[in-house]
Amino acid sequence: MDLSTSLYLVRPELILSFSSLALLLIAAWRQEAGRLVSILSVAALVGAGAYAVHYLCAGTDASAFEGLYRADAFGSFAKILIYFAAAISLMIAPKALEKMGAMRAEYPVLVILAAVGMGVMVSATDLLTLYIGLELNSLAAYVLASFARNDGRSAEAGLKYFVLGALASGILLFGMSLLYGFTGSTSFETIGTAMTGELSMGLLFGLVFVLSGLAFKISAAPFHMWTPDVYEGAPTPVTAFFASAPKVAASALLIRIVVEAFGNQVQAWQQIVMVVALMSIIIGAVGAIGQQNLKRLLAYSSINNVGFLLIGLAAGTEQGVAAMLVYLAIYVAMTLGGFVCLMQLKGRDGEMKESMADIAGLSKTRPALAAIFAIFMFSLAGIPPLFGFYGKLVVFNAAISAGLFPLAVIGIAASVIGAFYYLKVVKTMYFDESGDSIEAADDKVLRWTGGALGLVVSALGYLAIPLLGAVTAQAAGALF
C-alpha cells in the first residue's frame, strides 16, 4: 500500500492536525482571539466529521500505514460521535471560560489535538498507534483539566488526572509489552491469531494489564477514583468534554482491542468485563446518592453509565457491540445535555452554581431549564419514554441473547438504585421550596444546545432508531 492511499484514508486526522497547527499560530500572536479560534475549530471538526460520514456511507474498510491504522465503519461512527461531542464542548465553552477569566485561544486548539488523538485511538489496529493516540488525547486532557489555572480546584484536578493517568498509561504499557513479548507482534491481528488455544500466563497478565489500563481511561470501577475529583475540579465545559468524547474514544478502543486482539479468548476477558461492569453500575449508583455537588453527581452517573455500556461488551457478540454504539450515541447526547443545563446555573453575580441546594425550586424560577434538566435526569435513569431507555434496552437485550442472565438481572436491579439519585435531582428542582438563587441565563448558545439535545433525548429520539440501528449494525459488522 502506498503512502498516498494511506494519507487519503486518514483525511479526518490530517484536517484536524493541520488546522490545530494553523490555529496555534493564530493563538500565539493573538491571545484574545479565543472566539475566532473556537469557531474555526468547530469548522475543522465539521470538515473532519464530513469525511467520517463519507467513509461511513461509502462503506470504506481499508487498512493504512501497513496495518497500523484502519479506516472502517466502526472507527468512522466513533469519530462522528467524538467530533460532535468536541464541537459541542467548544461551542458552549467561550462564555463560561470568559467568566472564569480562563478563555484563551489555546483551549480550542487543545480540544482539537485531543480529538486527533481520539480519532487515532478508535482507528488503531496496532498497539503502537493505540498508545500514540491515547497519549496525545491524555496529554491534551491533562492541560485542559487545569485550564483555569488561577483556580486551585482546577489545578488540583489537572495534577490528579496527570498522576493517575500516567500510572494507568504505565499499566497499559506494561500489559502491551507483555503481549508483544509473548506474541512477537504489536498488531492486533497477529496477536489475535497468536492467542488461540491455551492462554499462557504471560499473555493472561498482559491481557489483564491492558484491560486495567483501559478501564482507568473509561473510568470504570474499580479504577474510577479519579473521576469525581477531576470532574468537580475542571471547568464545567471541560468536564462536559471529558464526560463525552474521551469516553467514546476509550470505549471504542476497548471494543476494538477486545474483539480484534482478544477475540479468540472470550472466556478470559468476559468475566473481567462482567465484574467491572457490575462494580461500575453499583459503585456509580451508590456513590452518587450522597453527593451534594452536581458535577460530582454527574461524575458518578458517568461511572454508572460505563457499567451499563460494558454489559454490551460482556455479551461479546456483534449485537452487543452494536448495542454499545447505540448506548454511546445516546449517552453522549444525555451527558452533554446534563452539563449544558448545569452551566446555565448562574448566581446573581454571574458565579457558577453547582450544588444541589442551588437548584431547589428551580422549576418555579426557571421552568424551561428545570424541565429540560429533568428530561436528562429521567433519561439517564433509563425511564421510558425517554431515549435513555432505549440505550439500556438494547444493551440488556444483547446480554439476554448472549445468555448472561445473572449479569442482566443484577445490572437491571442496580439500575433502580441509580434511579434514586436522578429522582433526587428532579425532586430538588420540582418539590422543594425555591431557594431563588439562580438568575436567568443570558447565554443563547447554551439555551439552544440544551433545548436541541433535550429534544433528541425526549421521546422524539425514537424516530432516529431505524437510522441509528442501521448505522451501528454496519459499524459493529466491520469488526466481526
Binding site: 421552568p367 431507555f389 439476554i400 437491571i412 436491579a413 433502580v416 434514586f420 424516530l463 431505524p466 440501528g469
Partner: protein, 522 residues
Amino acid sequence: MNAAELPILSIMLAVPMVGALACLFVRDEMARIIALTATLFNLLLGVWLWASYDPAGAQWQFVESAALFGPIGWKLGIDGISLLLIMLSVFLMPICIGASWRAVTERVGLYMASFLLMETLMIGVFAAQDLMLFYIMFEAGLIPMYLIIGIWGGKDRIYASYKFFLYTLLGSVFMLLAMLWMIQQAGTADIPTLLNHDFPPEAQTILWLAFFASFAVKMPMWPVHTWLPDAHVQAPTAGSVILAGVLLKMGGYGFLRFSLPMFPEASAQFIWLIFGLSMVAVVYTSLVALVQDDMKKLIAYSSVAHMAIVTVGLFTFNQQGIEGAIIVMLSHGLVSGALFLCVGVIYDRLHTREISRYGGLSINMPKYALFFMLFTMASVGLPGTSGFVGEFLSLAGAYKVSTWATLIATTGIILGAGYMLYLYRRVAFGEQVNADAAAMPDLDNRELWLLAPIAAAVLWMGIYPESFLAPIRRDVATIVERIERAAPAGDSKLKVHDKTTAKYRIQAHGGEHDKKAEGAAH
C-alpha cells in the same frame, strides 16, 4: 360512520398529548379549559369507539401498525377487555380535571399536562399490541405520577412519591428482561402472535415470576402493597382517583393479557401463591382498614382488598371468574374513584381527612350524604350496584376451584361492609360534634356534575351488567379456551354417586338445581 375508518386509537392517543403540550405554554385558566376540552373530546371519541366496536367481529379491532421506531413497533388494536378499560380511563379523566378545577392553584399548566400525559399513557397501555410499546407506556406513567404526587401532594409527599416510583420501577425491570427473552424466543414482539406461542413450561415459571413481580406491585398484592396507602394519602384528590381508578387496573390487565394466556402452565402452577396472597390480603387489609383514622387510607386499604378479589377471580381459569374479575376492576375503578372524590369534596372544605373531625354530615349535606351512601353501598357490593355483579361472579368462579379460597375471600365482603358502613356512620350520621364540619355547605353544581355521572354508571353496571359483559364475553372465552389445558381440578365436585351425602340433597329440586345455579351465575 364507523370509527375503524380512521386511525382512531392513534387519534385518541394524540389528543391528550397535544393538549398536554399546549397546557405547558398557557396561563392557568386557559390550561384548565384546554385540559377539559381535550379530555371531553377524548370521551366522545371513546363513546364513538365503543359504538363502532363489534362484539361479534374480529378479535382485534381498530388495528393499526406502523414501523416508525425500528424494533419497537407502533402497533395498536383492542379487544373487548381493552375497550372497557379504555372507556374507564376516558370516562374518569374529565372528572379528574373537574375535581382539580379549584383545588389546584399552583403550576396549573404542569398539573394539567401531567394528567393529560397520563391519559395518553393509560390508553396506550390498553391499546398496545407490541410488547415493547406496552412496556414503554406501562413504565412511562411513573414520571407524570411522580410529579403529581410530589408537587401537589400532602405533607409527606416526597417520601410517598419516591416509594411509589422505586417500588413500581423495581417490579417492572424484571418484566423487561423477561419480555426481551420472550421476543428472542418467539422472534416477534407482536402480542396477538405471542398469545398463541407456547413457551416451554420450565421457562414459563421464570417468565411468570418476572411478570408477577411487576403486576403484583402495580396491582397491588399483599405484601408489596405498602406503597399504595402512602401514595393515595399524599396524592391530590384527582391523583388518587386516577391511581385507584385506572393505574391499579394495569396490574389486573397485565395478568389477564400476559400471565394467563402466555404462561398457562405456570399460572396453574402458581395458583396457590395467588390464592394464598389474595386470601391474606382480603382479611388483613380489611382489618387494617377497619382501624384507620384517615379516610383516604381506609379507602386505599379497601382497594387492596378489592384487588385481591380480582386476582382470585382471574386465576380461576373459568369464564365466570375472569368475567367477574374484569367487572370488579371496572366497578372498583368507578367506585373507588368516586369515594376519593367524596373525600376530596369534604377535604376541600375542612382540609383534613381525619374521620373524627366530621360527623352528622347528612344533616347539613344531604345531597353529599346520598351520593356517599350510594358509593359506600357499591363498595360493599350491594345488589343493584356494580360491586355486586363483579364480586358475585368472581367468587362463583372461584368456588369451582377452591372452596377455602372462596370462603375466606367472601369474608372480605362481610369485613368490607364492616369498615365501609363504620366509615359512613362516623362521617354522615351521628351527632354534629364539630361546629366547623356542621357549617359546611352541600355539594355545589360542579361537584354534582362530577359525582352524578359516576353514580349513573355504577347503577347501570349494577342493574344491567350485560352492556359490559357483552363486549368481553367472547374475549374471555378465548382466554379460557387457551388456558383450559392447564386448568386446575376444582375441589367442589358434586358427589352425585356418593351415598353418604345423598341424604343432604333435597330431592324435590332434582335436576333443576344445576340449571338454576348456572343461570344465576350469568
